[in-house]
Symmetry: C2
Subunit: 243 residues, 2 copies
């Protein structure tokens, strides 16, 4: 059976303006690989209702899971819950259990549970809450769409709450061989090897280091013995030339 697939949807003007460098995509990509969910696409869109709702609908139709990051705080630009509710054409209302979690958190902190904060208890009908052990305000899963916060520490904590609920597949394993030769020399034998080992994927990631060209060849697949075999063949093709 093929692995489940996934997309990530990152919501935030601050990423698109270049002000903030996103960290959540890279983190979640690694976690999904570990549990055998194949990340196939990432999108970044602005804090705009139509853009978010359209992306949610496109991605949830195409992949087993959609993970969103950002836009679920208390301020006016936090519209992800509204956009997801619109995408599903479902109601968004303050929910008692979410409200109780937040009320207890602000009570402990001695902070006022004001209207802006109560906004974070609005959950689309039929959703399952995602626990937020850091700042209490929960994320939620609505069918195959998992809505999480954008602040990296909170995103990570929500991912940790969520992933045990999801069914993974065969973990994608990989081995990397660094070859200190230009890709132009590696290309032909690598292509032939990739055709022979069609059950594996071969990526070539070139670099320039101190003016010298090289490439990291990454062999990925689910069968460790096959990966070993391919890496062995590759190493034999490009024996270390010595110093």
């Amino acid at each position: 059976m093929p692995n489940p697939t996934a997309a990530i949807l990152i919501i935030g003007d601050e990423i698109l303006s270049g002000r903030t460098r996103d960290a959540n995509m890279h983190y979640l990509a690694g976690e999904l690989t570990r549990i055998g969910i194949d990340l196939k696409e990432v999108r970044v869109v602005a804090d705009e209702m139509d853009a978010i709702a359209a992306a949610v609908n496109a991605l949830r139709a195409g992949y087993t899971h959609v993970f969103t990051s950002g836009g679920i705080g208390p301020t006016h630009d936090d519209i992800t819950a509204d956009a997801v509710a619109r995408a599903f054409a479902t109601a968004l209302r303050i929910r008692d259990d979410a409200r109780a979690i937040l009320a207890a958190h602000y009570d402990r902190s001695g902070l006022e549970f004001n209207a802006a904060r109560q906004r974070m208890a609005r959950i689309p009908e039929g959703a399952i809450l995602i626990e937020n052990p850091i700042s209490a305000a929960p994320g939620f899963s609505l069918e195959n769409v998992h809505v999480m916060a954008g602040v990296p520490d909170i995103f990570k904590a929500m991912v940790a709450s969520l992933l045990p609920r999801l069914t993974g597949g065969k973990p994608i394993l990989s081995q990397t061989l660094r070859i200190d030769r230009g890709e132009g020399v590696i290309a032909e034998p690598l292509g032939a090897l990739a055709a022979e080992f069609a059950d594996l994927s071969f990526g070539s990631y070139p670099f320039i280091q101190n003016g010298v060209y090289g490439a990291n060849i990454v062999v990925r697949g689910t069968d460790p013995a096959r990966i070993d075999a391919a890496i062995g063949r590759l190493a034999a093709l490009f024996p270390d030339e010595g110093a």
Copy 2:
């Protein structure tokens, strides 16, 4: 006149597997903001022909410019030029000027200009070359789609070659005010201010630092006097409480 818009399309399994953390999106986002081109969307897709071609077609129909990163080297997984040619239903052939640039480069380097390297001279019909001062192999612009390398140093150099050719708009200016209060306290007055200054955009980017909640409020727009006025009002709403 509204600013031109843009999308970035990042091509690469290595980003989706979590192996590599993309750097090009953040770099180009900053450059586009500087020259007044509004980045509206980013997508990351795998090294798969159909996925790349579909994303190219969706994005080029929606935005003034599309910038792609990755997949134009000499190896078997470098299929971006093929996918772009397919998206435009145009021919992809070795072009004499691109071939001459590469031949001169390998001649200078004393390296063989072999079949894999000649593959990098394949350019879709009607494209304009994008200069690559680092490793010679050119990118290209086909109508509003600008195809560039994924290696960050080469990507940056290609962006520097390309951007002077494009017409920018009004640069988006921004000022940031750090407020050491929880977003839940900031939300209501900030929302009112955002409604009053409807010509500006107000983003609230929460953080947790040493266990203390705060937010950076970013005010963006094209008129520096309006941004000054909004930041002044905001600062007056949240005067520094002292130490």
